[in-house]
């Protein structure tokens, strides 16, 4: 029996249990909060065990992919509940779990209004993300893609900060609207396949063999591309992100930045690159241009922000530009770079959002001018912040550099001027990261005696795990790079790079 | 023996009806309207009686009897209403002030 469906459904069920437990316990708010929190932690632990089994257990499934699960869902439409796992999914699943632990350990404990519902939504979003990484039935993929959005929308609009409703609505409109485009593309692909073969199916592997005219395949690919580009986000459609990240509660920020953006990158690899390899190659110059624009634009705007969370949000746009650039270089190097960059960005930016969220929880402000030097009062928090800021500026030896370097290398093969331009993003990264460091961590002590406490040793050790992983990804990324290459379809793999864009 | 023609009686009946009708239309006092109505009923009765005589049929007088009963009932009810209105503070018995029938 494959553990994949359990992996997907466990968080949702666990979340429901947490909610019910919270609803049924009427003894008091604090204990109720604890109950749902504890159940969430248990669910995550169970999920980890499952993932360990999946990773190291015996795979009965033979083939290039690691694991497979499929039962019919709506047979009349050719829809099935089909999950497949390859190295890419597996590494992103690990990232999901690794990031959700700090979220729960550091952030969601603070939630005291309706904690049960919060944990339920948190876990539901996690289900959506996990499922998105695994689903190979296009309908199921779309379903889980949307499932991811709704809890996140509620999380932002119910537990967010001052301007949460606008941010949540903007987030929802952008992602939902682009999701509908993807649905259209899916339907287009399925109908085209049906016309050709008289087989109605949403199966990813079958659909990959559909013969498409170049125009049609470009249109369909663009539908997918726009959905993923909004999620990634790519520059002209990134508008939802700074607001959503800024207004979301800490745990949701981490989830958004650390994981949800990755679904965009994952989708681009899995669906744009592997379903439409030739079209993606033709489209690559545009996509790479957008990626470079994202890198520079995000970094530039990040230099101008005074709001910590906004600064980090714009820096994520910059980092995700590298992912986009790497994916569309058309070489394995670029792809591996993009994947490493996704993982490293998930860890570093997730941690930065955790830290920024902790600062906001303690000081009730995100304005860097008002936060002032924290080193004297909270050395642990500040050193963690410094560490992740340095990681995010692309210091060699951290995962971000590995990703960025591989992407740059692949880009240099394609177009050296673009790559040289992109390195300017590294300088801007230094500027915004150190600006942040010198505004809030290593800065003159501004706030008079703070009642709030520094991170405890336990919390620091949680962050320490992230630090270790980030450094490991930086100095020894080879296992991850080998593992995380997407398994090829039988038809076309994004192998040796084309020489377009010269 | 009959001294007059049927047409003449019809003419008389018409005139009488018209006069009664005019009375209903021009008087605002309910009492007078009631009297005018009686005139109109009598015009109708005259017509029935004349027709009965013309065709020598008793039905005309039977109808007269019915109209008589009708007139009695009408008058009784109408007068009762007039009295009620008078008692309720509308001593002028003005037909135009009561507009309860208005749609």
């Amino acid at each position: 029996m494959s553990p994949l469906p359990a992996l997907v459904l466990l968080p949702l069920l666990g979340g429901a249990v947490a909610w019910l437990a919270d609803r049924s316990s009427t003894t008091g708010t604090s204990s109720a909060r604890k109950i749902s929190w504890r159940i969430t932690l248990m669910v995550l632990t169970l999920e980890t065990v499952l993932l360990l089994i999946t990773t190291f257990g015996q795979h009965s499934y033979q083939g290039p992919w690691l694991d497979h699960f499929s039962i019919p869902w709506i047979p009349i439409m050719g829809i099935s509940f089909q999950l497949d796992m390859d190295g890419l999914s597996l590494s992103l699943l690990w990232l999901t779990l690794i990031l959700s632990f700090p979220c729960v350990l550091l952030a969601t404990r603070k939630i005291d209004t309706n904690a049960g519902a919060f944990h339920f939504l948190f876990l539901a979003a996690l289900t959506g993300i996990t499922g998105t990484f695994l689903a190979t039935d296009l309908f199921l993929f779309f379903f889980l893609w949307e499932l991811m959005l709704v809890p996140m929308f509620v999380l932002i609009s119910a537990w967010g900060h001052e301007d949460r409703h606008r941010a949540a609505i903007r987030f929802f409109l952008f992602t939902q609207g682009s999701g509908l485009l993807m649905l259209l593309s899916i339907l287009g692909l399925v109908i085209t396949h049906y016309r050709q073969t008289d087989v109605l199916t949403f199966d990813y592997f079958t659909l990959a063999h559909t013969h498409l005219s170049s125009f049609l395949s470009m249109v369909l690919m663009l539908g997918f591309f726009i959905a993923f580009a909004v999620k990634l986000p790519v520059v002209p459609v990134h508008v939802w992100l700074p607001a959503a990240h800024t207004q979301a509660p800490t745990a949701a920020s981490v989830l958004l930045a650390g994981l949800m953006l990755k679904t965009g990158g994952y989708g681009m690899i899995r669906f744009n690159l592997m379903l439409f390899p030739e079209t993606a190659l033709r489209f690559a110059p545009v996509a790479m241009g957008l990626g470079v624009a994202g890198i520079l634009y995000g970094a530039w705007l990040s230099c101008a922000q005074n709001d910590v969370k906004r600064l980090i949000a714009y820096s994520s746009i910059s980092h995700m530009g590298f992912v986009m650039l790497g994916i569309f270089t058309g070489s394995n190097t670029g792809l591996q770079g993009a994947i490493v960059q996704m993982l490293a960005h998930g860890l570093s930016t997730g941690a930065l959002f955790l830290i920024a969220g902790s600062i906001q929880d303690r000081l009730h402000t995100r304005d860097m001018a008002q936060i002032g030097g924290l080193w004297a009062s909270w050395p642990r928090l500040s050193s963690a912040g410094l560490f992740f800021a340095v990681a995010s500026l692309g210091m060699p030896g951290f995962g971000n550099f590995t990703g960025e370097f591989l992407v740059l290398l692949a880009t240099w093969h394609v177009n050296s001027i673009v790559a040289a331009l992109t390195t300017a993003g590294l300088v801007l990264a230094a500027i915004y990261s150190l600006r942040m460091v010198n505004r809030i961590f290593l800065a003159p002590t501004r706030t008079p005696p703070l009642h709030a406490t520094d991170f405890s040793i336990g919390q620091m050790s949680v962050l320490g795990v992230l630090m270790v992983l980030l450094v490991l990804l930086g100095v020894h990324p080879q296992p991850v790079m080998t593992l995380s290459l997407p398994s090829s379809l039988s038809t076309a793999a994004p192998s040796s790079g084309g020489d377009y864009g010269q | 023996m009959p001294p007059t023609t049927f047409n003449a009686v019809l003419l008389l009946s018409s005139f009488l009806f018209t006069i009664g009708l005019t009375g209903v239309l021009i008087r605002r006092n309910l009492l007078f309207m009631l009297m005018a109505l009686d005139i109109m009923l009598n015009a109708a009765a005259l017509l029935f009686v004349a027709a009965g005589a013309h065709w020598h049929d008793a039905t005309g007088q039977v109808m007269f009897l019915m109209i008589l009963a009708l007139a009695a009932a009408e008058t009784a009810v109408g007068l009762a209403i007039i009295l009620a209105l008078h008692a309720r503070g509308r001593p002028s018995l003005d037909a135009d002030t009561g507009n309860l029938l208005r749609g």
Partner: protein, 166 residues
Amino acid sequence: MNTLALLSGSLTLLGAIMVITRRVAVHAVLYLVVTLLALATVFALLGAPFAAVLEVIIYAGAIMVLFVFVIMMLNLGQPDREREKEWLRPRIWGGPALLSTILCAELIYSLSTLPQQTDSFSPLSARDVGLSLFGPYVLMVELVSFLLLAGLVTAFHIGRHRMENR
């Protein structure tokens, strides 16, 4: 005989005109009695003595007494007379009178199209009327009795209200 018919007919019309133009209610009632008596004469001339008798007894007798009683109860006086004068302006009765005139003209015109015929009005006795009444029209008699009962009840009901409001 012809003279009598003409006289009674014109008296009827005259009385009716007087009824609708009087300002004092009692005068109008008296003129109405005159009209009814003249009409009874016409009935008699038409060979319907039973109807003539009933007209005098019930109409001129019973109903008119009812009117007189009511007028007495209304306790009308000089202001009412003035008001009636006020209400009987030509501007007010001009329109209705015109309408009535048109109707009258039309009736006359339509009567004039009827063929001229001379009739012999043979009298119908009370017996004929009675036979007819309790023969084919017995159901109508019952209906009329219902009608009278309804009128009685209604009048009583309205009058009772009046009593209570006192």
